[in-house]
Symmetry: C2
Subunit: 207 residues, 2 copies
DNA sequence: AAACGAAGCATAGCATTGCTATGCTTCGAT
DNA sequence: ATCGAAGCATAGCAATGCTATGCTTCGTTT
């Protein structure tokens, strides 16, 4: 049998790619392996080439987002919890803007729909709890609310990450937009605004 | 004095880049000039390199969007007009998905904030008319409504273009999301839904 | 009208990119 | 102890964006 592959090398390369990305340095085959001790062939052994590496980096981005989302303790106010998920999404994108771009870079033909699924399922679950708690109307499909809420946050974040609007505008508009989605889902305006305000007031991680 | 530069070559290259993009073929320096009769140096004469070309392609994308937006005759119902602008945005992105991606590709350090301004000003104007007509609350800032409406549409379109959601889901959610923004701005729910429904019912251009 | 010269731009060659070919090394199975 | 499949280092390939160089063009000048 062969020499066993070391998962360490794999995550080493992914981490280095993420680091280069964060430093705004070009992520090339040779810059990746530089100062890692491994040769360029490792990228082909573990990722079958650069596109495969990008796919892995993308998954890593979703994994970090998922970690962040999982770290949010469910709140007794399900709408506040849902709002907190949106905060996590925004903070993740602002903390890792280049990683965020790679995550949604459509130049991959591998749509990799699984990567985002866990995050999405958290949204759906929170939406369902909000319905069950009587905050959202019973005729809502939790998945529909989740899609709209996601699209909502994704849009304002994307515009900020691409520089079309400022981060200050993002922070100004995002809470109001979230509240609008919740109100549209049937929540009472005052309750929606309160839940959103509390969710956004929590101090954010810098990671 | 020199040989005068020909704007024809400039737009020829931009159009060819857009065409390659639409055909999902790689846009490289040499593939650009192939079968155009000009040499690779033309790209440096007119665009100072590939990044400059990408910037020009991006502007071209916004120019086409602006053309589409300008072609929308103002409606006596200002909210319906505003909704139609959103429809144009969605149809533009679906008709030219790769161009849409380049338009919002943040790998350019040139934010080129002017490019999107005309489209944005149309949104602001329609929002202002909606306020003046009494459809939206007087305490709204038209620019705020415009930003939120844009972010709203941009988000759902981006998720569709990157393959996270289907185009069918896009068409299902986009009208409801638009209506939610309008209702949040103060419009009566029934009127908002009616204006949106009529705007989306108009047959779309294929361009 | 003839000469000048600045700018367009065609050709050729450069460093860097992702990738492949090749062979050495490692290490579990027999 | 031997074999062989897999890891992986080295070297070299075509393609990329870019630069250097010089020819061509054509408005300006006298």
């Amino acid at each position: 049998m062969p020499r066993s592959p070391s998962p360490e090398v794999r995550s080493l390369l992914i981490d280095r790619a993420a680091a280069l990305l964060a430093q705004r340095e070009p992520v090339t085959l040779r810059s990746l392996v530089a100062s890692t001790g491994v040769s360029t062939m490792a990228v082909y052994t573990y990722f079958e080439g650069m596109p495969g590496l990008w796919g892995a980096v993308r998954q890593e981005g979703f994994r970090r987002l998922t970690d962040r989302v999982r770290s949010i303790a469910p709140h007794r106010d399900p709408v506040r919890h849902l709002a907190s998920l949106g905060v996590a999404y925004v903070e993740h994108a602002l903390a890792h803007p280049n990683l965020f771009r790679v995550m949604f870079d459509a130049s991959f033909d591998l749509p990799d729909p699984v990567a985002a699924n866990e995050t999405f399922s958290h949204l759906v679950a929170a939406a369902r709890r909000s319905i069950d708690a009587g905050r959202f109307s019973l005729d809502n499909d939790p998945a529909d609310i989740a899609v709209r809420y996601w699209a909502d946050g994704h849009g304002i974040v994307s515009l900020a990450v691409t520089g079309v609007i400022s981060v200050a505008d993002l922070r100004r508009h995002a809470p109001a937009m979230a509240a609008a989605v919740f109100i549209d889902a049937g929540d009472a305006p005052e309750q929606a605004h309160k839940s959103v305000r509390l969710a956004w007031a929590i101090p954010k991680r810098r990671t």
